[in-house]
């Protein structure tokens, strides 16, 4: 057992650090949940892409560097430590891309991945529906066969960044007579500007249009945009949710950097006699370290051939709870300034609050942990 990296990994770290130091915007970009910020982030992603830093773990043919999980994690550490901007392309990169690598045709990959890597096409996830949240398999939006493709009808909701995104991926009911709700679903991609699509932005808690509703009225999708076999949508979708809950969405580098900033804040304005608050700062430091180490242990397991399994649910509950605790601690250190909407911690705090809800609520994750990892009997769902 060891934690030291090879010289090759350290060289990669140094290369990434040098590049980031030279290119990370000196001042934070405007919020990516606004039209202006979205455009600025798109430019940043293009810059990353130009030097092949936008998707380092992808094969070179799609704009990546083909690095393994260890280097990817190291890159993430450097990325967040450098104070680089959040990624607008994230949902495509962390959810659709793994799905494409596992289930799409070579032709689909060649068509979709390069523009995702460059930020030219930003993807939104269209899974949830007004009546289908935790019970996603109950979804009712339909895809009906037509010449050369499918026609989509229905309503999707809570689609992150769909207000400004270009394309979307989702699951649709193609066989309403299938005996079980998980059957007869199909996974496909569609254009958010196609005829029949209406996007209605929804303001989140702080009013920013961070997600949107999608109304679909006979939206045409060609056969070439179906991923995998029609009817296999559930299996395909579930095979990639591990990425959403697991590391790729929330790499430890992000929390290590946040914990560092928190310690800086505590040093600058913490009251030394407030040991309760001091203890929470310490917990944030320990939590970031625990998550980092847990991830390294998993990375070692993956490198040895293991697949992401139900333990991604442990990951998800951990980072979502951790994120809130860290940000609440920052607000408590700030005192009256915590309320200022333009403060450095305000938007990340608002964002952290959604962690236990999206990517499968923590209640659902705890069910998965209890049933699949502890072997407890299934209850009523």
């Amino acid at each position: 057992m060891e934690l030291a990296h090879t010289a090759d990994v350290e060289a990669f770290r140094a290369e990434a650090r040098t590049w980031l130091r030279a290119h990370v915007p000196a001042r934070p970009l405007p919020s990516l949940e606004t039209a202006e910020g979205f455009a600025a982030h798109r430019e940043w992603e293009a810059l990353l892409h130009a030097d092949r830093w936008s998707v380092v773990s992808w094969p070179e043919e799609y704009g990546g560097r083909g690095v393994d999980i260890v280097k990817w994690l190291v890159f993430e550490e450097e990325y967040w430590a450098a104070g680089a901007p959040g990624r607008v392309a994230q949902n495509g990169i962390s959810l659709l891309a793994p799905t494409l690598f596992d289930h799409a045709s070579a032709q689909q990959r060649a068509r979709v991945l390069p523009s995702m890597a460059s930020g030219e096409a930003i993807w939104a996830q269209a899974w949830s529906e007004p009546e289908s949240g935790s019970d996603l398999a109950s979804l009712t939006s339909r895809a009906v066969r037509t010449a050369g493709g499918w026609l989509l009808t229905g309503q999707k909701t809570w689609s992150s960044r769909a207000a400004f995104a270009d394309r979307a991926f989702g699951i649709f009911r193609t066989d309403p007579d299938a005996p079980k709700p998980h059957q007869g679903l199909t996974y496909l991609m569609f254009d958010l500007r196609a005829p029949g699509v209406t996007v209605r932005p929804i303001g989140r808690l702080d009013g920013k249009p961070a997600f949107a509703e999608l109304f679909l009225d006979q939206v045409f999708v060609p056969d070439e945009d179906v991923i995998g076999e029609p009817g296999q949508g559930w299996r395909i979708a579930m095979s990639t949710t591990g990425n959403e809950r697991g590391l790729t969405l929330r790499s430890p580098g992000r929390f290590l950097a946040a914990a560092d900033r928190l310690v800086g804040l505590w040093r600058a304005q913490g009251d030394p006699s407030d040991t309760a608050l001091r203890d929470r700062v310490a917990d944030a430091v320990v939590g970031a370290r625990a998550y980092e180490l847990y991830t390294w242990a998993n990375a070692s397991r993956f490198a040895a051939g293991a697949a992401i399994g139900a333990e991604s649910s442990l990951n998800k509950v951990f980072w979502s709870q951790y994120d809130i605790a860290l940000h609440e601690t920052a607000l408590d250190l700030l005192g009256p300034d915590a309320e200022l909407a333009e403060g450095e911690w305000a938007e990340p705090w608002v964002f952290s609050l959604a962690g236990p809800i999206y990517a499968g609520t923590n209640e659902i994750q705890r069910d998965i942990i209890a049933e699949r990892l502890l072997g407890l009997p299934k209850g009523r769902r």
């Binding site: 310490a282 320990v286 625990a290 180490l293 390294w296 242990a297 069910d367 942990i369 502890l374």
Partner: protein, 330 residues
């Protein structure tokens, strides 16, 4: 980088686990609490046969070298089985004497410690004033002034909330002076850190035992016509227990790999809290039967809290974590 136990390390832990699984440890714990050290000594001597105690002693003195990682994996198993006695303290004394590098002292005590036949206990400045199990071990003390003494006998006995922890005050008058000075203070610092690390490992094992027993119980205990383990409130508490333990484990490994003050404090904090919370969950989910001393579960339930506070309370560990941060992480 490979942040997983090697096959050899895992095999060692497995060997210990199966040895302890067949050693009737609960009976030994109860006997120990009643003042009968015989059965526990029998367990120790079987443990000694695996080379466990030699992992805190240099090769020159019949040890296997100071191997904190292997030792930590072993102490997880000691916690899981609930092994009684001053196991942490014995290892800490080995480390203290090794660090002192006093040939005569090393020769006198280390071989016995490596073989597990001469257990030791220890109090250090800044630590608990009560010696653990001093009636069944050589009692070493380090004073604030840096005097290392071997106490003759022990002072007044004090009851612990865990009857299997036999506490006493060090005897008045101190005993034989073995060494003194800044070297003792320094060695005591290192020994205290090892004690903290091994207690963290033990906590992890205690927490795992509590979780495993509780998972088994809620699968077979039926109420309202269904196993209580199918109720979501029950499931979610156990899921949280697993979460706490799984995120404490890599902190313990990392601390064993590089036992600096911050890493060790983080490990102890996380593992101590995880095992104490596991105890609270185990108690609640067992209902009234969990609140009895009769059930073997009580052996771990009562251990969790004292171990959480031994060799560094959560608050002391948090302060250490922050103290050990360099101004910039990297």
């Amino acid at each position: 980088m490979r942040f997983l136990p090697t096959d050899e390390q895992s095999d060692f832990a497995r060997t210990l686990r199966s040895l302890l699984g067949s050693a009737e440890v609960p009976a030994a714990v109860r006997a120990w609490a009643d003042g009968d050290a015989g059965p526990a000594r029998a367990v120790w001597s079987r443990l000694a046969g695996t080379g466990l105690f030699a992992l805190a002693v240099p090769e020159d003195y019949e040890g296997a070298g100071l191997l904190p990682l292997e030792l930590s994996l072993g102490f997880v198993e000691l916690g899981r089985a609930g092994v009684p006695g001053p196991v942490v303290e014995s290892a800490a004394v080995s480390v203290l004497l090794t660090e002192l590098a006093d040939e005569a002292l090393a020769k006198r005590f280390l071989p016995g410690l490596a073989q597990g036949g001469a257990p030791a206990t220890l109090t250090l400045p800044g630590g608990s004033p009560y010696a653990l199990d001093a009636d069944a071990a050589h009692c070493f003390t380090v004073s604030a002034a840096g005097e290392l003494r071997l106490a003759a006998g022990h002072g007044a006995r004090l009851g612990s909330t865990d009857p299997a922890r036999r506490l006493s005050l060090p005897p008045a008058g101190g005993g034989e002076l073995l060494a003194a000075g800044p070297a003792v203070i320094r060695a005591a610092g290192v020994a205290g850190r090892w004690a903290r690390l091994l207690t963290a490992a033990q906590c992890l094992g205690v927490g795992e035992a509590l979780l495993a027993r509780t998972v088994e119980y809620v699968k077979q205990r039926t109420q309202f016509g269904t196993p209580i383990g199918s109720f979501q409130a029950v499931k979610h508490r156990l899921a949280d227990t697993l979460l706490d333990l799984e995120f404490a484990r890599p902190l313990v490994w990392a601390a064993a790999l590089s036992p600096g003050p911050g890493e060790v404090a983080a490990a102890k904090l996380a593992a101590g809290e995880a095992s104490y919370r596991a105890a609270m969950t185990a108690l609640q989910l067992h209902g009234a039967v969990g609140y009895t001393e009769e059930l073997d579960l009580s052996l771990w339930l009562r251990k969790a809290r004292p171990l959480r506070d031994a060799w560094g309370s959560p608050s002391a560990c948090r302060a250490e974590v922050l103290r050990s941060l360099t101004p910039a992480r990297r």
